[in-house]
Structure formats: C-alpha cells, structure tokens
C-alpha cells in the first residue's frame, strides 16, 4: 500500500486527502518512535511531526520509492525526538535505536476488526461508554478534566470509567479471538 497516491492532493492543500494519509500513516510513524517513549512525550512529538509533514508537503520531492511521505514523517519525528532528548537533557537513547532504519510499512485497515470493535463498544455499560465516547468525540481537543466536567464527573471517576471501558472492550474483543494489543486490556 503506497500512501504517496495522496501526495499531489496533499501538496495542493487538500485536508481530506491529508486525513486519509494520516489514517494509514499514523501507526507506522508512532511505532518508529517507541525507542524514545521513556524519555520524551511521544504523543506530543508525533502530533508535531505529522503537522510538519503537512507544512512541508508542497516542497517534498519523492525519491521514487514507496511511501516517501511516510518515510519523511518518520525522519521528522525521530529528529524532533532527538532534539527533545537534547533540550530536556534526558538520558541518552541507545545509539542502536537512533541508527536503526525505521519500518515504513503501511498496513491496510481491517473491515472485520472495525465491525468487531464497533459491536463491542455498543455493549459497554452507560457510564464507561460516556467516558469512552467523550474522548472520541473530543478528537484530542479537550483534556480529561474538561471532559469529566462536561459529563458531571470528577476527574478520577471519569478516568476510572474510561479504564473500565477500555478493559471491557479488550475482554469483548478477546472473546472473539481478537487481541489488538495486550495493553488495551491491561
């Protein structure tokens, strides 16, 4: 799957095309930053890296290989992470991790997984589902304290409900033989 099919549209300012690229590129770029997770806030680095891809895309010249824009995102993310390690004087990352060639493979979304997760989400009890849905609906735009207030919950209650939703979702998927990641149910 070569996500550079979206490149010309992204370069011309098409945010819908960029959204489609993001949907498929994000997991690879996130995975490439795992070796930094103990020393930098990867979520902050990742969002900034992806935003910078949008900003530089009009000037990006493909090298002919597949997923050039994903590989660019991985490079931007790792450079940002290295800068953060230096800025915050965090402990050094292992040299082998810095030099490792990140994997820019992009996996296609699985329609059956989508259906299973939707069915399991629909079975969540009311309060956990409220917390889970509030995070989804906010699209990363509100912190948990604000989401808790909007639902009439204390922050800890909101987080406990969210945790319960996450674990119930993992249990439901597990009964169908689906394990997204052990951490979903941890």
């Amino acid at each position: 799957m070569d996500l550079d099919v979206y490149l010309s549209a992204i370069a011309s300012g098409d945010t819908v095309a960029f959204g489609r690229w993001l949907a498929d590129a994000e997991p690879s770029v996130r995975a490439s930053l795992r070796s930094f997770a103990a020393v930098v806030d990867v979520e902050a680095v990742l969002q900034e890296a992806l935003l910078r891809v949008w900003q530089v895309a009009p000037r990006f010249v493909p090298d002919g290989g597949a997923n050039g824009l994903v590989r660019l995102a991985v490079r931007i993310g790792r450079n940002l992470a290295v800068s953060e390690v230096r800025r915050t004087r965090a402990r050094p990352v292992e040299p082998a991790d810095l030099e490792a060639e990140p994997d820019a493979t992009v996996a296609a979304p699985d329609p059956m997984l989508r259906a299973a997760i939707a069915e399991c989400r629909d079975k969540l009890p009311a309060k956990p589902r409220e917390a889970f849905d509030a995070r989804l609906a906010s699209g990363g735009g509100s912190d948990d304290a604000d989401l808790a207030t909007s639902l009439g919950m204390r922050l800890n209650t909101f987080l406990q409900n969210f945790t319960r939703a996450r674990k119930l979702l993992a249990e439901c998927l597990g009964r169908r033989g689906i394990v997204i990641d052990q951490e979903l149910g941890a």
Binding site: G19, E43, L113, R121, S138, G139, G140, D181
Partner: protein, 75 residues
C-alpha cells in the same frame, strides 16, 4: 504513589490531548513528568492500542491523534 494512582496518570498520558504548543516548544502532558520510565512505556503502548480502536470506530478511520493534528491546520 499507589499503583492505582499511577495507572490513572498513565490513562491521561495515553490520551491524545496535549496543551497547545507555545512558540517553538513542544508541550508535554503534565502527567507525563510524574511517570517513571516503565510507566511511560506503558502509556506509549496503551496509546497505540487505543488509537487502533479509535480509528476503527471513526467513520473516516481517524484516531484522536489524527483529529488533533487536523484541528491544528489553519483553515
């Protein structure tokens, strides 16, 4: 810090919300600073798992991270 308290911090850090960046400095989730290295790794892995679920539930296949990035693009 009790394991339960730590897990609530991990839950917050695993979310996609981050304070709006100021000038050229990245802004971390404040709870991230209260976590040890093992807990930060756990937050990373939990975030990855959650984003997969979020994207599967989104009509456009977008996670909350992707939505947060799109919201920062000036229209």
């Amino acid at each position: 810090m009790t394991p339960e308290d730590e897990d609530l911090l991990i839950e917050q850090v695993a979310g996609a919300w981050r304070p709006a960046p100021t000038d050229d400095t990245l802004t971390y989730h404040k709870a991230w600073h209260d976590l040890g290295e093992a807990a930060r790794m756990k937050a990373f892995d939990r975030a990855r798992a959650l984003r997969t679920a979020e994207a599967a539930l989104d009509p456009d296949g977008l996670s909350t991270t992707a939505r947060a990035v799109l919201s920062r693009i000036p229209r």
